[in-house]
């Protein structure tokens, strides 16, 4: 195994990054203060209005949502990662991620912010000319102008680049005429400008369109299951005249723009989910400590402890892998020289981490989903009521698995990225497989020994990586080009990779914590590492069997099954998961809040 973790799934063949990850333990004072201001604003100004915002109230003529957006704009929350030359704060992605995490408790608001400051603004920041940036960014940073991102069409959803909206050059050479329909546009009702994707002679291209232009009409508000406080409408363009200087990038650059912005959007979505996970845990802990049945707080019932432990451990894993990724991206960006090709190489950096961004998105959306389900059950009948807040969060969370690419599409992205880097040598997979094969042949496979208090979880990670590598290698060898239609296999493999990534990041982060003064907190962190490794090993074991039984032809099954049994054998470790869950829950109940 190697120490260098290369982007695009390289963690699969690398050592557990002990001492090498960014995590909240490394937040600077400034980052902590940014987090505090964001939290305070959400708690005082937004969360108390969350329920009312579902009816999209107005304050005079202005939607309350837009006035809140302007308030956070004034505080600088919308311009944290915009360039300083254009009134931004020029902070790194981790700092922007910290803000995204702390916009918790009102997903309608976070969605509005994300559509405006993320996908609605960053295309200009990354791909705009100096003139475009100077013209738009300062006003977007304060939300004086509200933006939106118009990619999806009725006929182009997951197949996002197949849009049929057209932009035809006018004879005057100074304008394009844009015609077509965009669907599901967040901020549609109140945006001033839109990033619109349209075909220019068959080349999919991005434009900045002012929505008060002639020929733009906005559809009615969609009636939705969740994020009801956010606006979702269609946008119809009927020969809308757009000046040529509003073209973003060059003709045909839409794929590059759309997909890269999506990577960032996915990262931020994961962070948004993380913030809500912690919020929901705190609500649940408080409820469980005060609600009494059978003469005692329900938190003391073993079953509820198990439930709380699941919530806490999975949130810890999400936290670990999300900040690890933002830190890795920042480190890669920090190494780039600020020359002419800086913008292009920034984008290349994001592309390199597409697989990891997809993991954070899927894990974020689904960790929160399961957690809210558990949290609501813990609340009993009260969990079903609006008043207890989890109800709204659970409705709002459904969209997380749909937009920024459905989780299905993200799983395909994960597999695709992995396969591509394996076949193209993006990271030293061959060498890794060779050592595994050699060890299998020589009967030398055994559980690797690691050192320190986390030795066992570290050994779990190493063993897990070998199982996953072996399985994906077989899938690729056996299916060859035919893998393209084996989406179920892809999904199984993607979930194995997700499990490894959670294990790897959790263990590395636990290491950052366990030296602390608070003994109970330390043992909870160790227990979380055990928990995540145990659950990860279970997913990996099941999925590996499913994949191999499907892809390996009858004749080769025996040897494959034997090899897999050997590799899985190394993953096997006695963990008293019942005790582990009690340790995690007891520490949290004692602390009275999520404490990591």
């Amino acid at each position: 195994m190697i120490d260098d973790v290369l982007p695009g799934g390289g963690f699969l063949v690398a050592n557990v990054p002990i001492g090498k990850i960014f995590s909240r333990e490394h937040f600077s004072d400034t980052q902590k203060e940014f987090a505090d201001v964001t939290t305070k604003f959400m708690q005082n100004e937004v969360i108390p209005k969350a329920e009312a915002l579902e009816d999209k109230p107005l304050e005079g003529d202005l939607p309350v949502m837009v006035s809140l957006l302007r308030e956070v704009g004034e505080l600088g929350l919308l311009s944290v990662d915009l360039p300083e030359e254009h009134d931004g704060l020029g902070q790194d992605k981790s700092t922007a991620s910290i803000i995204a995490e702390h916009l918790f408790g009102c997903p309608s608001f976070a969605t509005t912010v994300g559509a405006h400051a993320g996908i609605g603004t960053l295309p200009i920041s990354f791909f705009g000319t100096e003139e475009q940036k100077a013209r738009w960014l300062p006003k977007l940073g304060t939300a004086e102008l509200v933006s939106c991102y118009a990619l999806t069409e009725p006929g182009a959803g997951s197949d996002a680049l197949s849009g049929r909206t057209t932009a035809i050059a006018k004879e005057d050479g100074k304008h394009f005429l844009i015609s077509g329909e965009k669907q599901f546009i967040t901020n549609g009702a109140w945006a001033d400008i839109a990033i619109v994707f349209a075909q220019v002679e068959g080349k999919y291209t991005a434009f900045i369109v002012e929505l008060d232009s002639k020929g733009v009409s906005r559809g009615l508000e969609e009636k939705k299951m969740g994020i009801k406080g956010s606006s979702t409408t269609s946008l119809v363009f009927d020969e809308v005249e757009v000046p040529v200087e509003n073209m973003l990038g060059k003709p045909g650059m839409a794929p590059q723009i759309a997909l890269n912005i999506l990577n960032l959007g996915r990262l931020k979505l994961g962070f948004g989910a993380l913030g809500n996970c912690k919020y929901a845990i705190d609500l649940s802990l408080e409820y469980a400590s005060t609600r009494k049945q059978f003469g005692q707080p329900i938190a003391y019932f073993d079953l509820q402890k198990g439930r709380l432990a699941d919530m806490i451990a999975n949130t810890f894993a999400l936290d670990a892998l999300a900040y690890r990724l933002s830190g890795d991206i920042d480190a890669a960006l920090a190494n780039l020289e600020k020359d002419d090709s800086y913008a292009k190489r920034t984008i290349d950096t994001f592309r390199a981490y597409a697989l990891e961004c997809a993991i954070v998105k899927v894990v974020g959306a689904e960790t929160l989903q399961k957690l809210l389900n558990d949290g609501i059950r813990l609340h009993g009948g009260y969990g079903f009521l609006n008043e207890y807040k989890l109800e709204m969060l659970a409705r709002d969370n459904v969209i997380d698995s749909i937009y920024e690419g459905t989780n299905d599409i993200n799983r395909l992205t994960i597999f695709d990225g992995l396969a591509r880097n394996i076949l193209g040598g993006g990271f030293p997979f061959r060498q890794f497989m060779e050592t595994i094969d050699a060890d299998l042949r020589n009967g030398r496979i055994c559980r690797l020994s690691a050192e320190g208090p986390l030795a066992a979880p570290i050994a779990d990670c190493m063993a897990a990586k070998r199982v996953v590598a072996y399985t994906v290698n077989q899938a690729l060898i056996q299916c060859g080009k035919g893998i393209k239609t084996e989406q179920q296999v892809m999904e199984l493999v993607a979930d194995m990779l997700i499990a490894v990534s959670k294990m790897d990041s959790t263990v590395a982060r636990a290491q950052e914590i366990i030296g602390g003064k608070d003994a109970q907190r330390n043992s909870a962190a160790m227990a979380i590492a055990d928990y995540v490794c145990r659950r990860g090993a279970q997913t990996i074991t099941t999925n590996a069997l499913d994949v191999l039984d499907s892809v390996v032809p009858q004749g080769q099954r025996k040897i494959n099954q034997a090899n897999l049994a050997t590799l899985i054998g190394c993953l096997d470790r006695t963990v008293d998961i019942v005790r582990v869950r009690r340790i995690i829950a007891d520490a949290a109940i004692e602390a009275g809040a999520y404490q990591f």
């Binding site: 203060e33 201001v37 505080l75 929350l77 704060l89 907190r521």
Partner: protein, 263 residues
């Protein structure tokens, strides 16, 4: 005009406070700290007055090195410079008052604004003692007539009215409000309804790191901080007993007399 505002580092009022088993204090591990909420209101009032009348807002805190964070928070809100009088000893309100006297001799501010009390030990004494030592007029529990939803509040209009050499203050008193006029320099302590403090903006937070910051010690100021008041023992408030339903009034009276010994 020069306005001096004090801030104290206190345990987050939302935090779950536990008393150490030996009763010598509270468990501080895992506790978050923040600016005393009444002091935030004092800072906000200082900033509004500065913006209306010009001048500067100087932030003062007394406490351990860690209090630097709270001074920076006030600078992030917009104050101009900070002073920390550093000591690891526990300070009683009288020591704080005497430290302030020395600082005021150096700084000669026109107005000192403090929170009416710190939410950690809720003493509500430092301001009064300080004004007494200085021989200044004092208006504690400053509030205002305009409510916190009003247009004036939205426009961040100051609640204290300064004209010439005087300041007019609306005080919160039992059963209502009282208006007083003081000669400057004076001491004002802020109550809850004086204003809604602003949030520090992110650029404000970044700028705060570069603002002038002075570290002093009680020794340098020549103040003896040996406490006059010491805490003997800390105890958690007793658990509230569950209520009891009684069938009728005579039983209630009987129980109040015999068990609760209340009548």
């Amino acid at each position: 005009m020069k306005i001096l505002v004090t801030v104290k580092r206190v345990e987050d009022p939302e935090a779950k406070i536990k008393v150490k088993p030996d009763g010598t204090g509270i468990v501080t591990e895992g506790i978050n700290y923040k600016v005393n909420p009444f002091d935030e209101i004092a800072v906000e009032e200082g900033l509004r007055l500065r913006d209306a009348h010009g001048g500067e807002v100087v932030i003062v805190s007394c406490g351990s090195e860690a209090s630097t964070t709270e001074v920076r928070s006030a600078l992030a809100m917009g104050a101009d410079r900070g002073i920390l009088v550093k000591t690891d000893q526990t300070l009683d309100p009288d020591a704080v008052a005497r430290i302030l006297v020395k600082l005021v001799e150096q700084e000669s501010p026109d107005l000192v604004i403090m929170g009416k009390q710190a939410v950690d030990d809720d003493q509500n004494q430092a301001g009064q003692r300080f004004a007494q030592y200085m021989g200044w007029g004092q208006a504690t529990q400053a509030s205002k007539r305009a409510n916190l939803e009003s247009e004036d509040e939205k426009a961040r209009k100051p609640g204290l009215v300064i004209s010439g050499e005087t300041v007019e203050v609306t005080r919160e008193v039992d059963g209502g409000l009282e208006d007083v006029r003081l000669k400057l320099p004076a001491l004002v302590s802020a109550d809850l309804r004086l204003n809604l403090p602003r949030y520090a903006s992110l650029p404000g937070i970044m700028k705060a790191k570069k603002k002038p910051f002075q570290n002093l010690t009680p020794e340098e100021l020549g103040v003896d901080i040996t406490p006059k008041i010491t805490a003997k023992r800390f105890l958690s408030p007793p658990m509230r007993q569950a209520g009891e339903m009684v069938p009728d009034v005579p039983t209630l009276i009987k129980k109040l007399a015999e068990e609760a010994k209340a009548i």
